[in-house]
Amino acid sequence: MTAPQTLLDALETTIVGQRATLDALLAALIAGGHVLLEGPPGLAKTLACRALASAVGGSFKRIQFTPDLLPSDIVGTRIFDQRAGEFTTVLGPIFANLVLADEVNRAPAKVQSALLEGMQEHQVTIGPQTFPLPDPFVVTATMNPLDSEGTYALPLAQMDRFLVKILVDYPTADEEVRILERFGGEQPALPRDVVSIDDVLRWRHRARAVHLEPRLKRYAVELVGASRQKHDYVDRGASPRATLALAALARARAFVEGRDFALPDDVRAVAPAVLRHRLAFNYRTLTDKVDPETIVASIVAAVPTP
């Protein structure tokens, strides 16, 4: 079985910097969850997803979300075959191991729901038939925080379906020089078939067996519970789904680092990515110009580690 670190190394031959994004993509792949990437255009969000799909030898589909997109454009549709005289089903782009939902907040709610239902149920119903989605199935959705005009904000209940939300930031100056050197000429080839889909499924099995000491489980519960305490800037905290996400991601992180037991560092490291999109910040964050990230950080920091 190839080690997850090999996959990370291969991805880094294409993507410069953005280690947090790559770590999150790998952890979500292993933990069996979906990733929401938020960042300005041009930060290799799409390239990272494409490189990951290529490196695991899985199928990759990209869906550009637009205001006129229809649910059938995502899940598929039934068409009438005149020669056969019957309806046949054409499967949509959601049927892939890695699906990139670009600018997911540009499509209306019913289209978002079509995607999010598949994410949750791992199956899609088209007409009278239900089709299972491939395994592994990871959706990576992107949102651009700069242009809010003409967008449909994802409701909190739908945001909760994403295992993590990663903030993609600009590269450092050194990284940008390396980007120039790497992408200034011909487009570099994507890493191909570095690991197999079977490897990924085996990683998932091993990661689920990573030991989470009872005190760490309690710590995860306290972290999520802290988000539900009365807070000047938070109206509603995270649900138990966040606790499950914390545990799954902490296990995945420990597994990637070659351990069969999780540490407080694992739980704490993934906590901001698990919590940030699950909190309902109130209007005071806007009027007081408080960065939601500092609120999440203060909630996490207030909980003693075991």
Partner: protein, 279 residues
């Protein structure tokens, strides 16, 4: 001033802090253990105010437990403060022991009146000490036990005889006036680390690993929310590589699966044997 200092005299209303107490709790981990094992007793006060320390807290009676150390901290955030005191204790007698509530005297910010906040009580179940497992190689200890046991019996019998004789003798004479109790001197500061290392070597349990890990964290000034990664990043452990190995080994022993615990503790003890603690 102590963060959670006991009240000697009733505090006047003027001396009390005005606080909005959201939670004041007493917890123990574990709640069931054996004589000689360690438990962590944690008193936590969550306040709406930002405070750097909390006064006028009365700790419960902890007779029946030996204290191996404590850690006090107040952390503040946008939503207020959380003050906690974590005491590492080891029970000395078996049986169910109910620890009475800790109390906090403050002006309740909700109504402006002097108030007496109390935590929940907590019951600890203490089983008698486990006998030494036969497969643990502990020959030197066995030898010391063999030599000391007859000596201890002699001392106990002698002390009992002396007490009997002294008691009879006292009854024949009029009792002198009872002198006023001398003010108790503050307890001498004893480094608990050697005891905790010896305790772990003697009984290789998770609870003893955790107690030792807590003590080392306290020594290097670890804050309550800091992980080992944080401590290593801010070089709280200094440049001593052997100490970093100790911290890593104890972290592993504190969180590995039960099936790997014995090996992890062996590794931690090996790392500890290579480390020379500085006071």
């Amino acid at each position: 001033m102590d963060l959670l200092a006991p009240i000697v005299a009733p505090a006047s209303a003027e001396a009390l802090a005005r606080l909005h107490v959201r939670a004041f709790t007493l917890t123990a981990d574990p709640k069931s253990l054996r004589v000689g094992d360690t438990l962590r007793l944690r008193i936590v006060a969550r306040l709406d105010e930002r405070v750097s320390q909390l006064d006028n807290v009365t700790l419960p009676d902890l007779s029946g437990f030996d204290s191996l150390g404590d850690e006090r901290v107040c952390t503040s955030s946008a939503s207020g403060s959380e003050c906690s005191e974590v005491m590492t204790l080891t029970p000395t007698v078996a049986g169910d022991r109910t620890i009475a509530p800790a109390t906090l005297d403050a002006i309740d910010a909700r109504n402006g009146k002097p108030s007496h906040f109390a935590t929940n009580p907590i019951t600890i179940h203490v089983d008698p000490a486990a006998s030494q497992p036969p497969d643990v190689p502990n020959a030197p200890n066995a030898l010391v036990d063999d030599l000391l046991r007859p000596l201890a019996i002699l001392v106990i019998v002698g002390a009992a005889a002396y007490a009997l004789l002294w008691g009879f003798g006292r009854r024949k004479t009029a009792p002198p006036p009872v002198p006023p109790p001398a003010p108790s001197a503050p307890p001498a500061s004893v480094d608990p680390l050697p005891q905790l290392i010896a305790a772990l070597a003697e009984q290789r349990t998770r609870a003893r690993v955790v107690a030792l890990r807590d003590e080392l964290r306290r020594r290097i000034g670890a804050r309550e929310h800091e992980t080992l990664g944080d401590l290593l990043r801010r070089r709280a452990a200094g440049a001593d590589a052997t100490f970093v190995d100790v911290l890593r080994a104890l972290e592993r022993a504190a969180f590995v699966d039960d099936a790997q615990l014995a090996r992890a503790i062996d590794e931690a003890l090996r790392a500890l044997s290579k480390w020379r603690p500085t006071p």
